[in-house]
Each structure stands twice: as C-alpha cells, then as structure tokens.
C-alpha cells in the first residue's frame, strides 16, 4: 500500500480531532493549538491511539506535545509515514 497523499493526512488529523471534540472537521482550525481547541490530555491520548491505528505506525507520545496543531501534527505524520517500510 502506498503512503497516504499529503492532503489525506491533513484530512485524517482534522477528522480525528473533530471526532474527539464532537464537531465537524470544517469547524476545526488547522493552525489552532490542540489544547486551545478544547482537547484535554485524555482526548489527546485517544487521538494518538486512533492515528496510530489508522496509519499502522507507532507514534512517540511527545509527537503531540512537539506538534501541537493539526497542521503541524499532519506534517509530522508525513515525515513518519513517508519513510519506506513504515507506511501502512
């Protein structure tokens, strides 16, 4: 299977953040701080687990701390899944 398209990763992150917040993806600011968008630490862990399952990769728990916006997180995911052999 090929790595997801770049835009697909942005969509994936927005979709999961929106699900955790109970809003639609269009309501989520891609440049907003995840905690500022209203995600608590419990929801952040849930987001991490869901993204790992969706992409078939292991993510460092610090990934969300270091990349605290949906856009930055998607960029980080791109760097992780683009490495040959680790893509889902």
């Amino acid at each position: 299977m090929t790595a997801p398209l770049p835009d697909a990763l942005d969509d994936l992150v927005l979709r999961h953040v929106a699900a955790a917040l109970g809003v639609t993806p269009a309501d989520v600011d891609p440049a907003g701080d995840l905690a500022g968008l209203g995600l608590g630490s419990v929801q952040v862990l849930a987001l991490l687990g869901d993204l790992e399952d969706a992409l078939g990769v292991d993510l460092d728990p610090e990934a969300v701390v270091d990349n605290p916006t949906p856009r930055a997180l998607a960029a980080h995911l791109r760097s992780v899944v683009d490495v040959p052999g680790t893509a889902a």
């Binding site: 907003g32 209203g38 995600l39 608590g40 419990v42 929801q43 790992e52 399952d53 728990p61």
Partner: protein, 608 residues
C-alpha cells in the same frame, strides 16, 4: 467469611494465601507493548519482605512512604512492603513532566511529611531528580528507594494492628490544601468483608482494571480486595486504555477476568471507540461484575455498552453501579441484581426535592424494549440505582441534620466500620471535624457528611446531585477553586479577579470557564490589537484549563469586571454562572466559541 479474631488485618489474609496457594497468580500486568508478566503470591511475599527489611532499617514505624504508581507489579510489592515494615504507604501518581503535576505530588509529599519515595526502576531517574531538592519538615532529605524485586538478604514480615493506619488516600482536597484520608487496617478489613460478601466474590475470581493504583477504586476495589481474597489482580496501564479502550476488554478476554470496574467514562469510551473489526477477538462472557462508580452513572452509557458488547458475551446483568467515596474506604452501597437498576423519576418533583418513580426497569427485563433505545417508555429523569448499604449505616438528612421522610432527597450521611479516621495532620483538623464529625438532630454521631444528595427507592440509594461544588471528570475529583486560581495566573488582566469553572450544560465531563477580565490599558479597545489580545487570552486559558484538568473545554468566556455572579458575601455562584452561560445571557468580551467561529469564517474566506 465467618467470624474473625479482633486483631486480624488484610496482611494476615495475604500471609494465609502465601502459605496455602503460593503459586497462584497475585498480580498480572498486561503492558502496552510486550509480554504479560505474572507475580505469584509467593513471589509477591518474598519481594515485599526483602524490601521491608531495608525499609525497617532506615525508617521508623509510622513513617510515611510515597508509593509511586507505574502500572507495574512493583506498586503492589511497595504497598505490601510498607505493611510488613509498618510504614504508612501513600499511593501517588508519578510526579510527571508538567509543572502542575509535580506541584500536586510535591504537595502530597509535604502534607504527609514522607520519609521515603518508593519507585519502579523504569522511573527512578526522573524521580530522583524531582526529589533531590525536597526536604522533610525536620530539614532531612527525602530518600528515594527503588522497588527492584530482589529477594536476596534479610526478610521482614511485621504484623500491623487493626488500629494502625493502613494508607493515606489523597483523592480529596484541592491542590493548594491536599487532604489525605486516613484509612486504618480495621477500615480495610471491614470494607473487605462487606465488599466480597455482598458481591459474592471468591478466590477464583480474576479482577481486571485500568484504574491507576492511586485512585481509591483502583487501589481498594481492584488491588486490595483481590489480595485479601487470594484472587488475581490484572493491571492494564491507564495510558494503554486511554489510547485504545479495546485493550481493557482484550485483557479481560485473555485473562478470563470475572470482575472489572470503571467510572462511567470508561464504559462510554468502549461503546464509542471500539471498532467492529476489534469485536471478533473479544469474549466477555466470563464477566460476572462490571462495577461502576466514582462518578455519576449514566443509564444511556450502560445501555450503549450492553448493546455494543452483548454479541461478544457481555450480560447486561453484570452491570453493578455502586456508590462510595474515599472517606468511607471505598464503597458504601452495592448493586443487587434482584432490584431495579434504572428508574424514571418525575422531573418536577425531583426539582422540588422528592423522588417520585414513574417507571422502573432492570436490564434483565427491559433490554429488548425501550431501555435498549437508551430511554424509558415514559418521559422523565432516568436515574441509576446504586444499590443497598453494606458495612455501613446510611441516613439521608436535611440541612438541619433531621432525617428526611421516605422518598425525599437529603444529604447522604454514613457511619460505621468503613468510615475512615479523618484527614491526615493537624492542619486538616478543621476539615476533619466538619466532614467526619457531623451530629444529627437526634444527637447521634459522629456521622460522615458526604456532600452528595440522594433519595431511597426500595432501600436503594439513588444519587441525585451534589452539595459540594466538586467536579468529577473521568472519575477524577477536580476542585473549581483550583482551576479558577490557575486561570487567574495566566494574564495580568485576570489577576486577582473572580472567575467560575463549571461543567458545561448538557455535556458531562466538559468544562466551561467564565473569567472577569480587564484588557491591557493602552491597547485600543476597538482596534485589532485588542481583539488579538482577547483571542490569545481565551485560547491560552482554554489550553491551560484542558491541560490542568485533563478534561475537554467547551468554552472560555471573558466578561467585564463585576459580571461573574456571586453572593453578597462574595462567594462565587458557579451554578448561576452555568445557567447564564447555558442561556447565552453573559455579556461577553470574548469567548472561545466566538474565537472558533472567527477562525472558521476566516477559513471559509468570508472575512478579509
């Protein structure tokens, strides 16, 4: 359980199991990655006795030991070693990376003046670094001891007495003034007998939980009760569960667990987040009890969990919501399958302080019909019955301490062998007297005031609300005062000004904040910079509130000074703030919701 000599403690029960079933699994850890690890009763005893010998050499009986929880067997070894060395264990989370987490653990350590910190090898470096600058009340260093599982060298198996303090439970009190509930060995044994007898638990039971060992349900219900029974306690790391709720259920499946427990939140996570393709690997048919408590139980969540997992063997009759609190060791009322589980009450009567039951249902009889749709067949408030008191006497009283008539709502008061000795330390003497020393109008006492409101239905407790303004999120107690103080610190415009933090209307477990705010003088109030400042402040406050509480934040509202409702004596009226917010009647300077709307509009290109 039969009659027991007066001086027996949980330690005697554990020692008996060590002799009679040394090879039975005491603790099983199902880690997020890697193999399951098992500690038998003999291994647990040997490791604890070796650690106890070292502890008793360096510390005096009655010294406090902070036992840090790592979701490993070392936590249980540390607890038992404290019992053997006659130290007082104080279960605690790891200090963690965030400043507020470190502050909380440091506050507990200072309050109980701990002599030693027990920690798993995996967390020793960060813990030693954290503890290095800490000092005891007498200026001495706080010792960090690694629970490494060695069994070489001398062993010690001291025997605490019933009046000795078994542990301190810091689930009560705010960060600024932590309160440790003093639970004696007599409390633990009394609770153990009530819990295991009432629920019909046996040594063959397997307990499985993701609740951390510093949580009262995790510690007492899911570790101490199985150890007292000679049963097996399965530990699932909380982080593994929070990332993938299915891990809890697959651990139940793999270990053949018969008893589990979780706050409402855990069942909700499973019902919503376990995927269809994950169901195939699950088998929940051995589960006899899925206990609930630690936060209000939502009947719709029980329904949803049952419907989702019935195909993999879960029985709705396994649901066992109860009621309890750390101040009563753990559980005060226990589920009874012969009695109704869910009732529909008249809402107008409830608002008037009376429980008028319109309909009752158990999951045994009602599931295929209306209850399966998450509702009753008549309109009204659906409430979960929390069972019958056991091991404790329960009375519902009005604000004058007079027992309320049948069917009326009153505050839950408790007395008996499971009610703890009070809060730790002289500084908490006032709080101890207020909470543990209530005297009823008929002169009886002392009673434990729980701060919870409830009514009785056929002898069962139905919890209807709270007097104290405690927030309970995912089973954790949060104090509005602590969160409000955190928010005031974030900006000079909020400093020293009142704010109110409360649960969002209709969104349990989700927080809202209303904070009085004065924009920075000099910033043009009509200009872009003022708007940017307000926008940055609401987002910063939302981020901090989410981070400190662990809860999702629904809204943060900034209002002009004087706009947060309070009483004439200046007490914050959080309930009123919540009503105003729910109706949209607050005069907002700015809010998180407005900020989100702005960002959305910008995304859609409707704003220049």
């Amino acid at each position: 359980m039969g009659a027991q000599p007066d001086d027996l403690t949980l330690v005697d029960l554990v020692r008996e199991h060590v002799r009679e079933r040394p090879d039975h699994a005491a603790v099983v850890v199902v880690p997020e990655v890697g193999e399951r690890r098992t500690l038998t009763y003999a291994e647990l005893d040997a490791q604890a006795a070796a650690l106890a010998a070292g502890l008793a050499d360096r510390h005096a009986p009655g010294d406090r030991a902070l036992v840090l929880y790592s979701a490993t067997a070392s936590f249980v070894v540390g607890l038992l070693a404290c019992f053997y060395a006659r130290l007082i264990p104080v279960p605690s989370p790891l200090p963690g990376g965030q400043a507020y987490q470190r502050e909380r653990v440091r506050g507990m350590l200072a309050d109980c003046d701990a002599a030693v910190v027990l920690v798993d090898p995996t967390a020793v470096t960060e813990t030693a670094e954290w503890a290095q600058p800490l000092r005891r009340a007498d200026g001495g260093r706080v010792v960090v001891t690694v629970v490494d599982g060695t069994t070489d060298g001398p062993a010690r198996r001291g025997r605490p007495g019933p009046q000795d303090v078994a542990f301190l439970q810091y689930t009560s009190g705010s960060t600024s003034s932590p309160k440790g509930v003093v639970v004696t060995h007599a409390n633990v044994l009394h609770h153990h007998d009530a819990f295991s007898t009432t629920l019909g638990l046996v040594p063959e039971d397997v307990f499985c939980s993701w609740l951390p060992g510093y949580h009262d349900f995790g510690l007492v219900g899911m570790l101490l009760v199985p150890l007292g029974l000679g049963a097996t306690a399965v530990i699932v790391p909380s982080t593994a569960f929070l990332k993938r709720p299915v891990r809890w259920l697959s651990a139940i499946t793999e270990t053949g667990a018969t008893v589990t427990a979780s706050p409402n939140f855990g069942y909700d996570q499973c019902a919503r987040r376990v995927r269809d393709d994950q169901l195939a690997e699950l088998d929940l048919s051995r589960l006899r009890w899925a206990l609930g408590g630690a936060e209000p139980v939502d009947p719709a969540v029980l329904d949803a969990f049952t419907r989702r997992f019935e195909p993999v063997g879960f029985r709705g009759s396994a649901h066992g919501p109860g009621y309890g609190l750390a101040e009563a060791t753990l559980t005060a009322t226990y589920p009874d399958r012969r009695l109704p589980l869910v009732i529909t009450a008249d809402e107008a009567a409830l608002a008037d302080g009376r429980l008028v039951v319109l309909e009752e249902a158990s999951f045994l009889t009602a599931l295929p019909d209306a209850a399966a749709q998450g509702r009753g067949s008549v309109p009204g408030a659906r409430l979960v019955c929390c069972g019958l008191p056991s091991g404790v006497e329960l009375r519902l009283v009005d604000d004058q301490g007079v027992e309320v008539p049948d069917g009326a709502v009153g505050e839950v008061w408790l007395r008996g062998g499971t009610v703890a000795a009070g809060y730790w330390g002289d500084a908490a003497a006032g709080a101890t007297a207020e909470t543990f020393g209530a005297v009823a109008a008929d002169g009886t006492g002392p009673w434990l005031r729980t701060g919870d409101l409830g009514a009785l239905h056929g002898g069962q407790l139905v919890v209807t609300g709270r007097i104290k303004e405690l927030l309970i999120v995912a089973g954790r107690n949060l104090y509005p005062y602590d969160l409000e103080r955190e928010l005031r610190r974030l900006h000079p415009g909020a400093e020293g000004r009142p704010g109110a933090v409360f649960e969002a209307e209709g969104l349990p477990g989700t927080l809202c904040a209303v904070q009085e705010f004065r924009p920075t003088p000099g910033a043009r109030l009509d200009g872009a910079s003022a708007e940017e400042e307000l926008d940055a402040v609401v987002r910063r406050m939302a981020a901090h509130l989410a981070s400190v509480s662990g809860a999702a934040v629904h809204d943060v509202v900034l209002v002009r000074p004087g706009q947060v409702p309070r009483t004439t004596s200046g007490k914050i009226q959080r309930g009123r703030a919540r009503d105003l917010h729910g109706r949209g009647d607050l005069a907002e300077l700015h809010s998180l919701r407005a900020s989100r709307d702005g960002a959305r509009a910008e995304l859609a290109g409707t704003r220049s």
